[in-house]
């Protein structure tokens, strides 16, 4: 197989081929990201400052965690529009439960903290379970189900708080989870790393990961091969709900109060964007979480760079939109070139 017929052979072709092959394996994303990083650091001295790097990584962590869950759902052929609302619900539930526990039991903070986190995670898992059961049992499209739960979950979050921030969490929670650092990096980054590594392992090495690919790739084939569809579909939504709730808890610790305004549509759209830019196919069956995490980082860096480059905040969405489309179009283009070679 070669393109000798099309291209005159000669020196340079081989290296071109090598670059092309490299791009095929790592994708275009890192290349684009390098361009953005180098460009921005030349124009802004603060961009590569320690604090800024930490900031970027922290923000990217939140997005990456949610996008991992979203990616698993999309790979299985679904869609989770409710993640933004789950972030908000988990934040509110965590704060309320923790505050209530703290004032009820007094005693050591740790107990209240554990109760709060468990409640927050539980709320996310519950929404995920509901999504999953609707999709798997009733065979309704994930898009519509999660559109419904998105509205309902946001409603519950607001109903619980009337939109008023929830205070009264033990100081220890904010200090330990939100503000603590290990080797100079905030906890969120480690959690995100752990999540991405764990999910990468799940995708490659576990039955669950394998079945998620199979279900998204060809559900009929999975059925006749004896894969239990329901259980694994439910699993992806529960996972996505749980990860979104994790982010809700981390954000709550960071801002120091439970807020029904955390998350929202923006978070949901961004998580889907990260997944898709990270090469997850909306038709299911294809995608790797580690690339999705890189895409999350890319999106975060992009936003940060626009701010640091003093781009008018009203013009920023225009740049963001153009670059996003460009990134995916280039990727698509190179992939097509590739399949010719």
């Amino acid at each position: 197989m070669s393109t000798t017929a099309t291209l005159p052979g000669g020196p340079g072709r081989q290296s071109g081929q090598d670059i092309l092959n490299l791009v095929l394996t790592v994708g275009l994303l890192p290349v684009l990201m390098a361009i953005v990083i180098i460009g921005t650091s030349l124009m802004s001295p603060y961009f590569l400052g320690w604090m800024n790097v930490v900031n970027i990584l922290r923000m990217a962590s939140f997005l990456a965690i949610i996008a991992c869950g979203q990616a698993m759902v999309i790979i299985a052929g679904g869609f989770d529009l409710s993640v933004g609302a789950v972030v908000a619900l988990a934040s509110v539930v965590t704060a309320k439960a923790m505050a209530a526990a703290a004032s009820a039991i007094g005693g050591p903070d740790i107990l209240a903290i554990v109760i709060g986190i468990a409640a927050g995670l539980g709320s996310g898992l519950a929404v995920g379970l509901f999504n999953g059961l609707c999709v798997a049992r009733l065979k309704v499209s994930g898009f519509v189900v999660t559109l419904g739960t998105m509205s309902a979950t946001a409603g519950i979050g607001l109903l619980l708080t009337n939109g008023i921030p929830v205070y009264g969490m033990p100081k220890g929670f904010v200090q330990a989870i939100g503000r603590s650092q290990i080797l100079g990096f905030p906890l969120a980054i480690y959690i995100a790393l752990a999540v991405v590594l764990a999910m990468a392992f799940v995708q490659r090495r576990t039955l669950f990961g394998r079945y998620v690919y199979a279900i998204g790739g060809n559900q009929e084939a999975a059925v006749v091969s004896g894969v239990s569809i329901r259980r694994h579909l439910v699993g992806t939504y529960v996972l996505s709900g749980g990860l979104a709730a994790t982010v809700g808890i981390l954000l709550t610790a960071l801002v120091g109060s439970g807020q029904a305004s955390l998350g929202g549509d923006a978070m949901m759209l961004q998580s889907i964007a990260a997944a898709v830019i990270g090469g997850v196919s909306l038709r299911g069956g294809i995608g790797r979480v580690e690339v999705v995490a890189v895409a999350a980082l890319f999106l975060t860096i992009l936003g940060n760079a626009l701010n640091l480059l003093h781009i008018d905040s009203r013009l920023q969405p225009i740049f963001l939109g153009l670059i996003m489309v460009l990134a995916v179009a280039l990727d698509e283009f190179s992939r097509r070139r590739m399949s010719r070679v």
Partner: protein, 517 residues
């Protein structure tokens, strides 16, 4: 075969047959796909299911392999009553189906597909190494030219078929079910498969085999069961039954000759291809021509680029270099739309993927490629009455069954789907026809009708190109036959020289020449 050997020692003759179906009925909304079918398969026997498209063969197989339960009736396997069978359970007890619609996940690799649903794992964690070794072993054992690490969607249909067969043979097998396994295999792989079948039979594996190819049935079958309209018509001993008897039972009418006698009257050169190379490298340096009034055949092994050749002529395969001349006019920038305007039609091998919009009515599928004509529309507005009165008769001449052009194509059997494709060619005035595997997956009756259709086209002066993996078919139909090998023309056979022997030897000569070079 290691697994088979451990599972079955030939059972003693008096024991109950391996599989016994009694009174199995399956009803789909609006369709009675199986109607009170009785059937038995003995260990070590190859039992052919024979019947027209839509007779219920695949449905029967699906019931046996646990895909869905029968509406009523029961079946026993290995002496046990099978109730609430799931695909998983079926495989676990040794029922291994090879489906017509492949059960492969396109985005996974061959190896991952082989083990799908039966992964080796501990505590949910996969034993990747073990599975890889076993996959390699199995593929080597089967003698397939298959890369276990290749992604299934990157394989052609033939290799997908091999993966599907390998998947069925992975576990312990007591009953192997093959639904048209050779529909997209060429001679060589088919030969391998037959050797394998013989081996399995000798180990006492029962085999259910579905095929529309008489030659295979002759070569393999111990017994043949004929199904018609979901009913069991008769079970016969293969040794004593004749082809025409079988065909008559199947169709309810007599069919004497499969291939019609075609009078070729070669006229002007309709397609001339010079030094053609496709962008994907599948076709390189091909010179080729086809004349009006004759059938030009293209034969070749799997992946030799014969499909790509006609696809490039039609304009759906990017061309890297070379030229295509249609009726003396050299055309640049080929695309389906302009090809149709120049009178060129293409019939894809994979009708489901490239041919038909399954949920749309037959009428729309037939007129689909002709909507730019004034007959069907005026200023972009479709003339519905005209459309109906034009399409109706076309499908009538093609003997569409049932003759209702408002039904969705997805409801049709394979043969009738192919008729819809043929109808598309009659919906506009065309005179160059490119057929890619025109008879794949359709029953004998429908095949005869397709051949008759091709005959009519040629005798009316059209230029027809037939690309096929089924050697008897291209040999019988063609006036001239190109043999392709690795993207190049290996031989051009005409007249007396067009024999199976010559085709095969030109493959091997080419192979030898390449080895030497």
């Amino acid at each position: 075969m290691e697994p088979a050997a451990t599972s079955t020692t030939p059972r003693n003759e008096t024991a109950e047959p391996l599989l016994v179906l009694s009174g199995v009925t399956k009803r789909f909304p609006g369709v009675l796909a199986l109607d009170d079918v009785d059937l038995d398969v003995k260990a070590g026997e190859l039992h052919v299911l024979f019947g027209e498209n839509g007779a219920g063969k695949s449905t029967l197989i699906n019931v046996i392999s646990g895909t869905f339960p029968p509406t009523s009736g029961s079946f026993r396997f290995g002496g046990e009553e099978m109730a609430e069978l799931t695909p998983h359970k079926a495989r676990a007890i040794g029922i291994s189906p090879v489906f017509q619609e492949f059960s492969l996940v396109p985005s996974l690799t061959v190896e991952e597909n082989l083990f799908l649903g039966r992964e080796r794992s501990a505590a949910g964690i996969l034993d990747a190494g073990g599975m890889r070794r076993r996959a390699r072993e199995l593929i080597a054992e089967l003698g397939f030219d298959l890369d276990p690490k290749a992604r299934v969607d990157k394989l052609d249909r033939a290799h997908q078929q091999m993966a599907e067969i390998a998947k069925a043979l992975l576990g312990k097998v007591r009953l192997l079910i093959l639904d048209e396994p050779t529909a997209s295999l060429t001679e060589r792989e088919t030969g391998r498969l037959f050797e394998l079948i013989a081996r399995l039979k000798s180990q006492g594996v029962g085999i259910i085999y579905v095929s529309h190819r008489m030659r295979e049935i002759r070569a393999l079958a111990d017994r043949v069961t004929v199904l018609r309209d979901g009913r069991h018509i008769k079970t016969l001993d293969a040794a004593t039954v004749t082809d025409s008897e079988l065909v008559e039972l199947m169709t309810g009418r007599k069919i004497d000759v499969l291939f019609p006698a075609i009078t070729h009257r070669p006229g002007e050169v309709a397609i001339a291809v010079e030094k053609l190379a496709t962008a994907d490298g599948q076709v390189a340096d091909v010179d080729f021509f086809a004349r009006a009034g004759e059938i030009t055949g293209v034969a070749g092994l799997v992946g030799c680029g014969k499909s790509e050749l006609v696809r490039a002529i039609y304009g759906i395969e990017p061309i890297a270099s070379g030229s295509v001349t249609l009726r003396g006019e050299t055309v640049t920038a080929l695309d389906p739309r302009s090809s149709l305007r120049r009178g060129v039609a293409y019939f894809p091998a994979n009708r489901g993927v490239e041919g038909l919009a399954l949920s749309r009515p037959i009428r729309e599928n037939v007129s689909m490629a002709a909507l730019d004509l004034g007959r069907y529309q005026r200023r972009g507005i479709i003339r519905r009455t005209a459309e109906r009165s034009l399409i109706g008769p076309i499908m009538e001449t093609l003997k569409l069954r049932p003759p209702n052009i408002e039904r969705a194509v997805g409801n049709l059997s394979g043969g009738n789907r192919q008729k819809v494709m043929l109808g598309r060619a009659m919906a506009r005035d065309l005179d160059i026809f490119l057929f890619d595997e025109p008879s794949v997956g359709i029953d004998v009756g429908a095949k005869v009708e397709v051949y008759e259709f091709i005959k009519r086209l040629v005798e009316a002066g059209a230029a027809v190109v037939v690309v096929s993996s089924e050697l008897p078919e291209v040999l019988a139909l063609s006036n001239r036959l190109y043999v392709m090998h690795h993207g190049r023309i290996a031989a051009l056979l005409e007249g007396e020289a067009m024999t199976e022997q010559n085709v095969l030897s030109s493959f091997f000569e080419e192979e030898a020449r390449e080895k030497a070079a």
